[in-house]
Protein backbone atom coordinates (compact mmCIF):
# COMPACT_ATOMS: atom_id res chain seq x y z
CA UNK A 1 0.00 0.00 0.00
CA UNK A 2 2.70 2.44 1.07
CA UNK A 3 4.84 1.49 -1.92
CA UNK A 4 1.93 1.93 -4.33
CA UNK A 5 1.22 5.38 -2.88
CA UNK A 6 4.85 6.42 -3.25
CA UNK A 7 4.87 5.22 -6.88
CA UNK A 8 1.62 7.08 -7.67
CA UNK A 9 2.86 10.34 -6.16
CA UNK A 10 6.25 10.00 -7.86
CA UNK A 11 4.62 9.39 -11.26
CA UNK A 12 2.36 12.41 -10.72
CA UNK A 13 5.26 14.69 -9.81
CA UNK A 14 7.33 13.41 -12.74
CA UNK A 15 4.45 14.16 -15.10
CA UNK A 16 4.07 17.66 -13.65
CA UNK A 17 7.78 18.31 -14.16
CA UNK A 18 7.88 16.77 -17.64
CA UNK A 19 4.80 18.60 -18.94
CA UNK A 20 5.97 21.90 -17.50
CA UNK A 21 9.50 21.45 -18.86
CA UNK A 22 8.12 20.53 -22.28
CA UNK A 23 5.84 23.58 -22.38
CA UNK A 24 8.66 25.89 -21.27
CA UNK A 25 11.37 24.56 -23.55
CA UNK A 26 9.56 23.70 -26.79
CA UNK A 27 11.15 25.90 -29.47
CA UNK A 28 9.18 28.52 -31.37
CA UNK A 29 9.69 26.58 -34.62
CA UNK A 30 7.75 23.66 -33.17
CA UNK A 31 4.87 25.95 -32.26
CA UNK A 32 5.00 27.40 -35.79
CA UNK A 33 5.07 23.94 -37.40
CA UNK A 34 2.15 22.85 -35.26
CA UNK A 35 0.21 26.01 -36.15
CA UNK A 36 0.84 25.26 -39.85
CA UNK A 37 -0.41 21.69 -39.44
CA UNK A 38 -3.38 22.88 -37.43
CA UNK A 39 -4.37 25.56 -39.92
CA UNK A 40 -5.41 22.92 -42.44
CA UNK A 41 -8.12 21.58 -40.16
CA UNK A 42 -10.59 22.98 -37.68
CA UNK A 43 -9.35 23.39 -34.15
CA UNK A 44 -11.79 20.71 -33.03
CA UNK A 45 -10.05 18.11 -35.16
CA UNK A 46 -6.58 18.99 -33.94
CA UNK A 47 -6.92 19.95 -30.33
CA UNK A 48 -9.33 18.87 -27.65
CA UNK A 49 -11.46 21.83 -26.81
CA UNK A 50 -11.68 21.07 -23.14
CA UNK A 51 -11.42 18.34 -20.61
CA UNK A 52 -10.34 14.89 -21.65
CA UNK A 53 -10.99 15.23 -25.34
CA UNK A 54 -14.63 16.11 -25.13
CA UNK A 55 -15.77 19.22 -26.96
CA UNK A 56 -16.04 21.53 -24.02
CA UNK A 57 -17.40 25.02 -24.43
CA UNK A 58 -14.75 25.97 -26.94
CA UNK A 59 -15.12 29.12 -28.98
CA UNK A 60 -15.06 27.38 -32.36
CA UNK A 61 -16.59 24.03 -31.53
CA UNK A 62 -20.23 24.90 -31.83
CA UNK A 63 -20.67 25.63 -28.14
CA UNK A 64 -22.92 28.45 -27.08
CA UNK A 65 -20.03 30.50 -25.74
Amino acid sequence: MKRALIVAITVCLLLVGSLFAFARTAPGESYAAFADAASGASCCEIVSCGCLGTKCSCFECGGSK
Partner: protein, 273 residues
Protein backbone atom coordinates in the same frame (compact mmCIF):
# COMPACT_ATOMS: atom_id res chain seq x y z
CA UNK B 1 -1.02 21.05 -25.06
CA UNK B 2 -1.59 17.33 -25.59
CA UNK B 3 -2.09 17.79 -29.32
CA UNK B 4 1.11 19.81 -29.55
CA UNK B 5 3.06 17.31 -27.44
CA UNK B 6 1.75 14.44 -29.58
CA UNK B 7 2.70 16.39 -32.71
CA UNK B 8 6.29 16.98 -31.52
CA UNK B 9 6.68 13.37 -30.30
CA UNK B 10 5.22 12.10 -33.56
CA UNK B 11 7.79 14.06 -35.57
CA UNK B 12 10.59 12.78 -33.34
CA UNK B 13 9.55 9.12 -33.27
CA UNK B 14 7.46 8.55 -36.40
CA UNK B 15 4.56 7.24 -34.31
CA UNK B 16 1.03 8.37 -35.07
CA UNK B 17 0.25 11.69 -33.35
CA UNK B 18 -3.36 10.59 -32.94
CA UNK B 19 -2.31 7.36 -31.18
CA UNK B 20 0.02 9.25 -28.82
CA UNK B 21 -2.70 11.77 -28.02
CA UNK B 22 -5.35 9.13 -27.36
CA UNK B 23 -2.95 7.06 -25.23
CA UNK B 24 -2.20 10.17 -23.15
CA UNK B 25 -5.87 10.95 -22.63
CA UNK B 26 -6.68 7.34 -21.80
CA UNK B 27 -3.92 7.13 -19.21
CA UNK B 28 -4.68 10.45 -17.52
CA UNK B 29 -8.43 9.95 -17.43
CA UNK B 30 -8.31 6.43 -16.08
CA UNK B 31 -5.33 6.83 -13.75
CA UNK B 32 -7.12 9.24 -11.38
CA UNK B 33 -10.33 7.25 -11.17
CA UNK B 34 -8.46 3.96 -10.91
CA UNK B 35 -6.30 5.23 -8.05
CA UNK B 36 -9.29 6.46 -6.04
CA UNK B 37 -11.16 3.20 -6.62
CA UNK B 38 -8.18 0.97 -5.86
CA UNK B 39 -7.00 2.74 -2.72
CA UNK B 40 -10.53 3.29 -1.37
CA UNK B 41 -11.33 -0.42 -1.72
CA UNK B 42 -8.04 -1.25 -0.07
CA UNK B 43 -8.99 1.07 2.79
CA UNK B 44 -12.24 -0.87 3.19
CA UNK B 45 -10.42 -4.23 3.17
CA UNK B 46 -11.52 -5.19 6.67
CA UNK B 47 -15.12 -4.07 6.24
CA UNK B 48 -17.66 -6.93 5.91
CA UNK B 49 -19.84 -4.77 3.58
CA UNK B 50 -16.96 -4.06 1.22
CA UNK B 51 -18.53 -5.73 -1.82
CA UNK B 52 -21.71 -3.69 -1.36
CA UNK B 53 -19.67 -0.52 -1.00
CA UNK B 54 -17.86 -1.44 -4.21
CA UNK B 55 -21.17 -1.79 -6.06
CA UNK B 56 -22.40 1.56 -4.69
CA UNK B 57 -19.13 3.21 -5.76
CA UNK B 58 -19.51 1.96 -9.32
CA UNK B 59 -23.23 2.78 -9.53
CA UNK B 60 -22.58 6.33 -8.30
CA UNK B 61 -20.17 7.15 -11.15
CA UNK B 62 -22.84 8.01 -13.77
CA UNK B 63 -24.37 10.44 -11.29
CA UNK B 64 -20.98 12.10 -11.03
CA UNK B 65 -20.90 12.54 -14.79
CA UNK B 66 -24.37 14.09 -14.69
CA UNK B 67 -23.31 16.42 -11.87
CA UNK B 68 -20.19 17.45 -13.77
CA UNK B 69 -22.35 18.45 -16.75
CA UNK B 70 -25.04 20.18 -14.67
CA UNK B 71 -23.14 23.40 -13.88
CA UNK B 72 -22.10 24.14 -17.52
CA UNK B 73 -25.66 23.41 -18.71
CA UNK B 74 -27.11 25.88 -16.17
CA UNK B 75 -24.45 28.48 -17.04
CA UNK B 76 -25.05 28.09 -20.79
CA UNK B 77 -28.83 28.18 -20.33
CA UNK B 78 -28.60 31.43 -18.33
CA UNK B 79 -26.33 32.92 -20.98
CA UNK B 80 -28.54 31.79 -23.87
CA UNK B 81 -31.76 32.67 -22.03
CA UNK B 82 -33.29 29.30 -22.89
CA UNK B 83 -32.73 25.59 -22.44
CA UNK B 84 -32.15 23.67 -25.66
CA UNK B 85 -31.09 20.13 -26.51
CA UNK B 86 -27.77 21.45 -27.80
CA UNK B 87 -26.86 22.66 -24.33
CA UNK B 88 -27.08 19.07 -23.06
CA UNK B 89 -25.12 17.48 -25.89
CA UNK B 90 -22.18 19.89 -26.11
CA UNK B 91 -20.19 21.62 -23.41
CA UNK B 92 -17.73 21.04 -20.63
CA UNK B 93 -17.42 19.19 -17.36
CA UNK B 94 -16.95 20.79 -13.95
CA UNK B 95 -15.10 18.81 -11.29
CA UNK B 96 -16.94 20.37 -8.38
CA UNK B 97 -20.38 19.40 -9.70
CA UNK B 98 -19.19 15.87 -10.39
CA UNK B 99 -17.55 15.39 -7.01
CA UNK B 100 -20.54 16.63 -5.01
CA UNK B 101 -22.96 14.59 -7.12
CA UNK B 102 -20.96 11.38 -6.80
CA UNK B 103 -20.59 11.79 -3.02
CA UNK B 104 -24.33 12.50 -2.68
CA UNK B 105 -25.16 9.47 -4.84
CA UNK B 106 -22.92 7.27 -2.68
CA UNK B 107 -24.57 8.58 0.49
CA UNK B 108 -28.06 7.91 -0.90
CA UNK B 109 -26.98 4.47 -2.16
CA UNK B 110 -25.66 3.55 1.28
CA UNK B 111 -28.84 4.76 2.98
CA UNK B 112 -30.98 2.71 0.58
CA UNK B 113 -28.80 -0.32 1.32
CA UNK B 114 -29.10 0.33 5.07
CA UNK B 115 -25.35 0.88 5.36
CA UNK B 116 -23.49 3.70 7.05
CA UNK B 117 -22.17 5.94 4.25
CA UNK B 118 -19.15 7.13 6.23
CA UNK B 119 -16.72 4.23 5.70
CA UNK B 120 -17.13 4.61 1.93
CA UNK B 121 -17.21 8.42 1.84
CA UNK B 122 -14.24 8.76 4.19
CA UNK B 123 -12.21 6.29 2.12
CA UNK B 124 -13.10 8.01 -1.17
CA UNK B 125 -12.46 11.51 0.20
CA UNK B 126 -9.07 10.46 1.58
CA UNK B 127 -7.83 9.47 -1.89
CA UNK B 128 -9.88 11.91 -4.00
CA UNK B 129 -7.12 14.58 -4.04
CA UNK B 130 -4.62 12.03 -5.37
CA UNK B 131 -6.95 11.05 -8.22
CA UNK B 132 -7.82 14.68 -8.84
CA UNK B 133 -4.13 15.53 -9.15
CA UNK B 134 -3.96 13.21 -12.18
CA UNK B 135 -7.20 14.68 -13.52
CA UNK B 136 -5.69 18.17 -13.52
CA UNK B 137 -2.73 16.85 -15.50
CA UNK B 138 -5.36 15.82 -18.04
CA UNK B 139 -6.61 19.42 -18.03
CA UNK B 140 -3.10 20.68 -18.77
CA UNK B 141 -2.83 18.06 -21.51
CA UNK B 142 -6.17 19.15 -22.98
CA UNK B 143 -5.44 22.86 -22.49
CA UNK B 144 -8.65 23.65 -20.60
CA UNK B 145 -8.82 25.36 -17.17
CA UNK B 146 -5.85 27.53 -18.15
CA UNK B 147 -4.43 30.41 -16.14
CA UNK B 148 -4.35 34.16 -16.46
CA UNK B 149 -1.67 35.75 -18.68
CA UNK B 150 1.59 36.34 -16.84
CA UNK B 151 5.13 37.52 -17.44
CA UNK B 152 6.54 35.49 -14.55
CA UNK B 153 8.98 32.59 -14.98
CA UNK B 154 6.24 29.99 -14.59
CA UNK B 155 4.22 31.25 -17.56
CA UNK B 156 3.70 28.77 -20.41
CA UNK B 157 2.29 29.44 -23.90
CA UNK B 158 -0.40 27.12 -25.26
CA UNK B 159 -0.26 26.18 -28.96
CA UNK B 160 -2.46 27.37 -31.83
CA UNK B 161 -6.00 26.02 -31.62
CA UNK B 162 -5.90 25.53 -27.85
CA UNK B 163 -8.65 27.12 -25.72
CA UNK B 164 -6.16 29.67 -24.35
CA UNK B 165 -5.04 30.62 -27.87
CA UNK B 166 -8.64 30.94 -29.08
CA UNK B 167 -9.64 33.07 -26.11
CA UNK B 168 -6.66 35.41 -26.47
CA UNK B 169 -7.33 35.62 -30.20
CA UNK B 170 -10.99 36.49 -29.70
CA UNK B 171 -9.98 39.13 -27.16
CA UNK B 172 -7.55 40.67 -29.66
CA UNK B 173 -4.54 40.04 -27.44
CA UNK B 174 -2.49 38.24 -30.11
CA UNK B 175 -0.65 39.80 -33.05
CA UNK B 176 -1.43 38.62 -36.58
CA UNK B 177 0.30 35.34 -37.36
CA UNK B 178 0.75 34.36 -33.72
CA UNK B 179 1.50 30.65 -33.32
CA UNK B 180 0.80 30.36 -29.58
CA UNK B 181 -1.18 31.99 -26.80
CA UNK B 182 0.29 34.53 -24.41
CA UNK B 183 2.22 32.86 -21.56
CA UNK B 184 -0.30 31.94 -18.88
CA UNK B 185 -0.08 30.60 -15.34
CA UNK B 186 -0.05 26.78 -15.48
CA UNK B 187 -3.06 26.80 -13.15
CA UNK B 188 -3.74 23.11 -13.85
CA UNK B 189 -0.30 22.20 -12.48
CA UNK B 190 -0.80 24.50 -9.48
CA UNK B 191 -3.95 22.56 -8.67
CA UNK B 192 -2.18 19.23 -9.16
CA UNK B 193 0.45 20.26 -6.60
CA UNK B 194 -2.23 21.70 -4.30
CA UNK B 195 -4.14 18.43 -4.44
CA UNK B 196 -1.01 16.46 -3.60
CA UNK B 197 -0.42 18.69 -0.57
CA UNK B 198 -4.06 18.28 0.47
CA UNK B 199 -3.70 14.51 0.10
CA UNK B 200 -0.56 14.52 2.26
CA UNK B 201 -2.37 16.55 4.94
CA UNK B 202 -5.41 14.22 4.89
CA UNK B 203 -3.19 11.14 5.06
CA UNK B 204 -1.31 12.57 8.02
CA UNK B 205 -4.58 13.53 9.72
CA UNK B 206 -6.15 10.10 9.14
CA UNK B 207 -3.15 8.19 10.46
CA UNK B 208 -2.89 10.02 13.78
CA UNK B 209 -3.20 7.99 16.97
CA UNK B 210 -6.73 8.94 18.03
CA UNK B 211 -9.40 7.41 15.76
CA UNK B 212 -11.46 9.93 13.78
CA UNK B 213 -15.21 10.12 14.15
CA UNK B 214 -17.22 8.88 11.13
CA UNK B 215 -17.55 11.56 8.47
CA UNK B 216 -14.72 13.70 9.83
CA UNK B 217 -12.38 12.92 6.93
CA UNK B 218 -15.13 13.73 4.39
CA UNK B 219 -15.77 17.08 6.09
CA UNK B 220 -12.10 17.98 6.28
CA UNK B 221 -11.54 17.07 2.62
CA UNK B 222 -14.50 19.15 1.44
CA UNK B 223 -13.30 22.05 3.57
CA UNK B 224 -9.67 21.75 2.44
CA UNK B 225 -10.57 21.53 -1.23
CA UNK B 226 -12.94 24.49 -0.94
CA UNK B 227 -10.09 26.64 0.44
CA UNK B 228 -7.69 25.36 -2.25
CA UNK B 229 -10.12 25.90 -5.10
CA UNK B 230 -11.26 29.32 -3.91
CA UNK B 231 -7.63 30.49 -3.73
CA UNK B 232 -6.44 28.97 -7.01
CA UNK B 233 -9.31 30.50 -8.96
CA UNK B 234 -7.51 33.85 -8.71
CA UNK B 235 -4.81 32.49 -11.05
CA UNK B 236 -7.34 31.12 -13.56
CA UNK B 237 -7.86 33.00 -16.80
CA UNK B 238 -10.51 31.07 -18.75
CA UNK B 239 -13.57 33.27 -19.03
CA UNK B 240 -15.68 30.30 -20.06
CA UNK B 241 -15.88 29.06 -16.45
CA UNK B 242 -18.17 31.97 -15.66
CA UNK B 243 -17.34 34.97 -13.49
CA UNK B 244 -20.19 36.76 -11.72
CA UNK B 245 -19.73 39.89 -9.61
CA UNK B 246 -15.99 39.31 -9.32
CA UNK B 247 -16.13 35.66 -8.27
CA UNK B 248 -16.18 32.54 -10.44
CA UNK B 249 -18.95 29.94 -10.28
CA UNK B 250 -16.57 27.52 -8.55
CA UNK B 251 -15.73 30.14 -5.92
CA UNK B 252 -19.43 30.48 -5.07
CA UNK B 253 -19.68 26.69 -4.78
CA UNK B 254 -16.50 26.64 -2.66
CA UNK B 255 -17.93 29.28 -0.33
CA UNK B 256 -21.18 27.31 0.06
CA UNK B 257 -19.24 24.10 0.76
CA UNK B 258 -16.92 25.88 3.22
CA UNK B 259 -19.86 27.38 5.11
CA UNK B 260 -21.72 24.06 5.26
CA UNK B 261 -18.70 22.06 6.40
CA UNK B 262 -17.78 24.70 8.99
CA UNK B 263 -21.30 24.45 10.42
CA UNK B 264 -20.99 20.66 10.54
CA UNK B 265 -17.62 20.85 12.33
CA UNK B 266 -18.78 23.49 14.81
CA UNK B 267 -22.15 21.99 15.68
CA UNK B 268 -22.37 20.59 19.22
CA UNK B 269 -21.85 16.86 19.36
CA UNK B 270 -24.45 14.54 20.84
CA UNK B 271 -23.21 13.08 24.08
CA UNK B 272 -23.45 9.34 24.29
CA UNK B 273 -25.05 8.19 27.49
Amino acid sequence: MGGFLAFVLSRATGLSAFAILEAGYLFLSLAGLGLVYGFAMRELAGNPARSRYRLIFLLALPFGLFGARAIPIVQDAILAGRLTLGLFTSGGLVFYGGALAVLAAMAVGCRLSRLSPWPLLDAVCLYAPLGHAFGRLGCFFGGCCFGAPTECLLGVPFPAGSPAFLQHKSQGLLPAGAVASLPVHPSQLYETLGNLLLFAALLFYSRRAAPLSPGRLTTVYLMGYAVLRFTLEYWRGDVIRGVYYGLSASQYVALAVLLTTALVLLRPRKRST
